[in-house]
């Protein structure tokens, strides 16, 4: 199948492999290699090529480096995934650049980037968090899926059962790429189908048995006592200036109501906010030009 095209999408100018904690990570780059660096972190089950619209616009002034998170895109898989190792990977990429970088993350990547900036403020100039302010207090509600009311020990038993079976890494295959696009469209109905064809193509691979996601589905199966009320107090420890970007439109995974996001962001000491009109959760995919304009203005100050 030939690679789909999409207006404004520019493939990375350079790709390379960066090894973090023994895991090969795919880094995609745009822009002059000696320009000031900007590091991009994608969201859960996404991949670095989701920045093919935003990155070329930022590359007019910066060296843009998009990370494929471990288990995602063209990065390696591991036996188990934790939030801490995702943060460590971003920290390792930042430290490898030899100079402080701007750091931008979307959704889960925004949360990971915020934690990374908190831990190594000396490596981060400015932080942009695009709708990555955590789940609502009740957790993300997936349409048609009820919250799990079972006691925590019962849920851990289910996690343990899954780990017992984890030697079986068989992934589900679908007959056509359109089947994958339809699944993504059901979760993210705001994203245009031609863009999803481009985005899903780069997040999938064709095998003898059909089309399958590149992502390791185990990357979404962590277990621990983490809870949303820790988000705000965590922000209080952030020294780096943060631009908090949200879209204007309701969407599957955000933006959070102001009654939730406001009190969390009130903990950020050096906060600016931006609201992008005509975008839902995938702000930089839905409105790349407007997003880039806001980001370039913020990063250059």
């Amino acid at each position: 199948m030939t690679e789909p095209e999409y207006a404004g999408a520019v493939a990375p100018e350079r790709t390379r492999t960066f090894t973090s904690l023994g895991v090969p990570l795919r880094l995609s780059e745009w822009g002059a290699p000696d320009a000031a660096p900007v590091v991009l972190c994608h969201g859960m089950f996404d991949h670095g090529r989701g920045f093919d619209l935003l990155a070329p616009l930022l590359a007019e002034r910066f060296r843009v480096i998009a990370i494929d998170a471990r288990g995602h895109g063209d990065s390696g898989w591991v036996d188990a995934y934790t939030w801490g190792t995702d943060v460590a990977d971003v920290v390792n990429v930042l430290r490898s650049l030899g100079r402080p970088a701007h750091l931008i993350g979307h959704s889960k990547g925004g949360g990971v980037a915020t934690d990374a900036a908190t831990r190594v403020p000396e490596s981060v100039r400015r932080l942009v968090n695009i709708d990555g302010f955590g789940p609502p207090p009740e957790g993300f509600v997936i349409p048609g899926v009820q919250p799990d009311p079972r006691p925590i020990p019962v849920r851990l038993a289910e996690f343990l059962d899954g780990r017992r079976a984890s030697a079986d890494r068989a992934t589900r295959c679908y007959p056509t790429l359109d089947d994958l696009i339809a699944r993504r469209l059901a979760s993210n109905p705001r994203l245009p189908r031609p863009w999803l064809r481009y985005f899903v193509f780069h997040g999938a691979r064709q095998t003898e048995r059909g089309w399958t996601w590149k992502v390791d589905l185990r990357a979404g199966r962590g277990f621990g006592p983490w809870r949303p009320e820790w988000i705000g107090p965590g922000y209080a420890q952030l020294e780096t200036p943060m631009l908090a970007v949200t879209g204007s439109e309701r969407d599957t995974w955000g933006p959070l109501p102001e009654s939730v996001i406001g009190p969390r962001l009130a903990h950020v000491r050096r906060l600016e906010r931006a609201r992008i009109t005509g975008a839902g959760h995938f702000v930089h995919m839905e409105q790349p030009e407007a997003t880039a304009a806001v980001l370039l203005d913020y990063l250059d100050r």
Binding site: V78, T85, V87, R119, F223, W226
Partner: protein, 214 residues
């Protein structure tokens, strides 16, 4: 006599040592953070059944987890595979092994009739809230004792341990024993103690393991 069984779990090979043979209830020992099964020394006196000790991932003779992901729930998943092999076991753990024993006693009550929690490295974790302190992300090898231990295991020194989370597991456990020695204990341990869902073993008990058979 010590025989070592190696079993694979996912991409890891883990070492399970049989410290003592016998006919009777099985005992599984889980070591402290940064430790290994070798530290248990002679098997607890007069234990009537077989005594096993697991080397956690990244410790002793078990492999390191590629990519460096260590958390109590992941260590519990490794130990759970040992339980799958061994069948029901009384479980005794020290330090982080105690916390893992608590998780298993709550999640697998049919396999863990009783668990004994002993002090040791990794008992506290990062306290009741996440430790986001600067620099606490990539521990250097010098952070921990020398040896074959994967430096990334020290990230378990900062994982959050909310008291209500621990209490949920304690309440689901069939029988839980807390080894007290007069030293301070982390908030999660105190929550279990105060809720009276566990039996306290006073300081100076010569063989706390025997209480697992009561």
């Amino acid at each position: 006599m010590t025989a070592t069984r190696r079993f694979s779990h996912g991409e890891l090979t883990l070492a399970l040592h049989e410290l003592h043979a016998g006919s009777g209830p099985s005992l599984l020992l889980l070591h402290r953070l940064g430790g290994s099964s070798a530290e248990w020394g002679a098997p607890p006196g007069a234990w009537p059944g077989p005594v096993f000790a697991l080397d956690f991932a990244g410790h002793g003779e078990s492999e390191r987890r590629a990519g460096g992901a260590y958390a109590p729930e992941l260590l519990a998943a490794d130990a759970d595979v040992a339980l799958e092999l061994l069948g029901p076991c009384r479980v005794a753990g020290a330090g982080i092994g105690a916390y893992v024993a608590l998780l298993l006693a709550g999640a697998r009550p049919e396999l863990v009739p009783a668990a004994l929690l002993l002090p040791g490295r990794g008992l506290d974790g990062g306290g009741s809230l996440p430790a986001l302190a600067r620099g606490r992300i990539l521990p250097a090898p010098a952070d921990g004792p020398e040896g074959s231990t994967d430096p990334m295991v020290w990230t378990c020194d900062s994982d959050p341990r909310p008291p209500d989370y621990a209490l949920a597991f304690a309440s689901a456990a069939r029988r839980l024993l807390l080894a007290e020695d007069g030293d301070a204990r982390p908030p999660w341990w105190e929550a279990i103690r105060e809720a009276s869902v566990a039996r306290r073993l006073a300081a100076g008990v010569t063989s706390p393991f025997a209480a697992l058979l009561d």
